[in-house]
């Protein structure tokens, strides 16, 4: 059954959001961008996504102003994709989804997200209970949890094992 991506009859901001980010893979591309993945090949390796789908998603996310294309090398020309403020604003959605998946399905912590300043686990509404504030995304420290069992052959997964702040570019060992 062919299904479009629009929800023409729905007067609803949730439906509007899903028209933009509701397609398969889209939110995982945004997730990776928040984790600091920027390069086409790193998205490809980390997501295990078909090339054509990744190219379509990156183009759409760029057109929507959720990612921004930046030239990082001139010869040969190479671009990377950096998450914008509009993309960063999807963090509460991804955090809420992840907490739901953890509690109702995984039952274990795959990744821990802490307030970098004090090491407190971020709460269900993005807050640091110790400091009493909603933690800005750039101050969120991501660490592997006890339930994470990443593929050792995947260089992006390996790179994401090191504690790192969200948005900071991930450093992938070149093989």
């Amino acid at each position: 059954m062919a299904l479009g991506k629009d929800y023409a009859t729905q007067e609803c901001s949730i439906a509007r959001a899903l028209e933009v980010v509701g397609e398969r893979w889209t939110l995982l591309v945004v997730r990776d961008a928040l984790y600091g993945v920027r390069r086409y090949n790193d998205f490809l390796v980390h997501l295990g996504i078909p090339r054509a789908v990744l190219a379509t998603r990156l183009q759409m996310l760029t057109e929507e102003g959720i990612l921004e294309k930046r030239r990082y090398q001139e010869s040969p020309p190479r671009d990377e994709y950096v998450v914008t403020d509009r993309g960063i604003a999807l963090w509460p959605t991804l955090r809420a989804l992840g907490l739901w998946g953890r509690e109702h399905y995984d039952g274990t912590v795959l990744r821990s997200f802490q307030h970098a300043d004090c090491g407190t686990e971020i709460g269900p509404y993005g807050e640091c209970s110790a400091c009493g504030l909603v933690v800005p995304v750039e101050d969120v420290l991501m660490l592997p949890g006890p339930g994470l069992d990443p593929d050792p052959a995947n260089p992006v997964s390996r790179a994401l094992l090191k504690p790192k702040r969200l948005l900071q570019p991930v450093v992938v060992d070149q093989v």
Copy 2:
């Protein structure tokens, strides 16, 4: 291009959640269930969704324990679908998505969600900033916003114009 619904290589609670609720229409069915829609025909009318898709989504959501099927009439037998605690736990995700869609696309308030006790607009993670707590879903009051222009011929849309608490069954005028 045929795309499955699984993300086999992703060790990630966000990906796990999207395997369950990431397909087209699924989150809008859950949204309606949180708004108090319970009956097959009311979902059908409000969503304008193909019958086969709605039936598949309701069955899947029931199997996943996100909705619960309840007999409300014996002769002829009729069931309704009531959102469970697991489904209610998706509210922060839907709230965050809706705020993102409002801020970055609609630019106007289609529906307002307030803490029923104090009238404060619920924040991006479902919290009340005035009371400093995550508002239980049953204490969220839904009201039409100034940007809402619902189809007057749609009885479910009409019924959802009245201020109501989430989860309370929507009362649709029989035509």
